[in-house]
Symmetry: C2
Subunit: 318 residues, 2 copies
Amino acid sequence: MNELPLPGFAEVLAAAARIAPHATVTPVLRSRELDAMAGASLHFKAEHLQRGGAFKFRGACNAVWSLDAEQAGNGVVTHSSGNHGAALALAARSRGIPCHVVVPEGAVATKLANINRHGATLWRCAATQVAREAECARVQQETGATLVHPYADARVIAGQGTAALELMRQAGATLDVLVVPVGGGGLAAGTLLAVRQLLPDCDVVLAEPAGAADTARSLAAGERQLDFVPDTLCDGLRGALGWPNFALLQGNAQVITVDDADTVAAMRLIWQVMKQLVEPSSAIALAAVLARPERFAGRTVGVVLSGGNVDLDALPWG
Amino acid sequence: MNELPLPGFAEVLAAAARIAPHATVTPVLRSRELDAMAGASLHFKAEHLQRGGAFKFRGACNAVWSLDAEQAGNGVVTHSSGNHGAALALAARSRGIPCHVVVPEGAVATKLANINRHGATLWRCAATQVAREAECARVQQETGATLVHPYADARVIAGQGTAALELMRQAGATLDVLVVPVGGGGLAAGTLLAVRQLLPDCDVVLAEPAGAADTARSLAAGERQLDFVPDTLCDGLRGALGWPNFALLQGNAQVITVDDADTVAAMRLIWQVMKQLVEPSSAIALAAVLARPERFAGRTVGVVLSGGNVDLDALPWG
C-alpha cells in the first residue's frame, strides 16, 4: 500500500462528482435538546441514512467507478467486519460487477445480512488481520478481482471525504470543529482533506474508543502503533490505522479517546432524543463532545453520524 | 363533549397558522427498499421527529394557543398514557402556563419521563377510563385549568390535521391513499378534514390494532362500540374512539385491523431499513400496507409515522 500516492483535495472533488449519480446526499440534523446539553451548536451529518446504512458507500462507490472497464470486469474484493463489505457489494451492483467479501468470525449479524442482501459472495475467515489479508489475497489471485481496502486506499479515502464536503456546504454556518470517529482512518483522513482546503481554521477531532486507541498513540509517537488487541463494542472502529491514513492525519488532527460506557450513553441519547438509529461506532462522536464540554462549548460543531447498522437482538444495554 | 361544534377544514388551516411558530415542519422520508417490498410509492411523514416525539404536539399546541388570556392563566389539564401528556406539557411551556397531566398506571416509562422533563405536574391514577376522568375532573375543579382531551376535542382534532396538510404539500406527488393509525381518532379525524378538502379522491385508511378494534366495529355498526378491553402493545392506540371523531369518520374512512405480530415486524423493518426509531403505534401504519399488497400496489401512499417514544429497556422482541 505504501507505494500509492496520497490523495488530495482534488481527489475528494473528483470523488464527489463520480459518486453523485449513486450516493444519497444525506441530511444534516439538528436537536435543540442535544445543543442545550452540549452548550454548543451541533450539526449532525446523517450518514446512517446513506445507502447501505453507512458513509462507507462513498468510498466504495468511488473506488468501483474509478476502475477501467477491464479491471471492473474482474470484480472487486475486500475484507470487512461489515459496513464496508455491504457498501462495496452495493457499489459493485451499481456497476454490475462481481463482489467478494472476506468476513471475519464475530461480525455483527445485521451487517452480514446486508452484505448478502446486496448480492456479494461471502468468504469467512478467522478474526485476525493476518487471516483476513491471506484470504483476501487468495480470492484476488483466483478471480483477478481488484482489492478495495476498507480504508488504506486513496480512492476510498477520497470518497469518504465527500461527507465532510457536503456537511460544510449544508450546515448553513461556519464550522469551528468537526468530529468524526476513527478506526482505520478512511473517514478521518478524507475529512481532513476536505476541511483543510475549505475551512483551514476548523479543527478536526477524532473520536476513538479507549479500547482501540492506536490512532491516539500513533499520532503521539509519530509512527503507527500496531501492537494492540482491540477491546471495544464499537465494532466498526477495531481496525488499525492505515499507512496513508496515518500520513495524512499526522500533525493535523486531535484525538479524544472515549470509554465504551460513554459511547453507549450517547447512543441511547441519540436514539431517544433524535429518534435516529445509529451504531456505537457513530455515537462515539457525540460521546466525545459531551465528555469534553470545555473543548466544544459555544462552538459550531459538525458531527458525522457514520452508520446505523445495529444488531437489534444484541443491544448494548438492559 | 357532544355539544362542541365539529371542526372543519377552516379550523385545520387556522391551526396550521397558530402552531407555525412552535411546531416543527417534519420531513417526508422515502425508502427504495420499502417501496420495493410494498410495490408502492411510500411517503412517510416523520412525526416521530415532531417536538415531544409525536404528532400530538400539533393538537396540544393548537389547543393551548386557542385559549383566551384569562383561561390560559389557569393552565391546562389532561389525562394521557403518554404522548399527549408530554405534548401538552411542551405546549403549555411554550405559552408559559401551568400544565397538569393525569397518568394511568402502566404508562410507558419514557413517556412519563418526557412529561416530567417538560415541566408538567403529574397525577397518577388507576388505568381505567373512569379513574382517569374522575381524577381529571378533580384537578380541573381545584385549579380552574381547562381540559384538553387527548382526542375528543375540536381544537386537538384540527391541530392533528395539520400533519396531513403538510404531507400533501410536501409529497411532490398526488397521494392516492393516506394511512394513519387510529386510537381515539384525533389524528384520523383531523387527517380526514384535510384530505377531503384538498384531495377528495384520496382514500383515508385507518390502521387499528386487532386487540383494540373499536373503530372498525363502530364504523361498521354505525354507532360507537365502547365495550372492549384493549389488548395490544400499541400503547398509544388503546383509547376508545371519541364522539366527534366518530362523527367525522363515519362513512368517510376504511379500517384495516392489524395483529401486533405484524406491527412488531414492521417496526423492526422501519428501524433496520430507515434507521428511524418509531413506536409500535406508528409502525402499525406500514404493517397495514404490507398486510394488504393488493390494496396498495402501484399506488402513491402517504404513511404517517406518528411517534417515536419507545421504552428502550422493553423492546417488543428478543
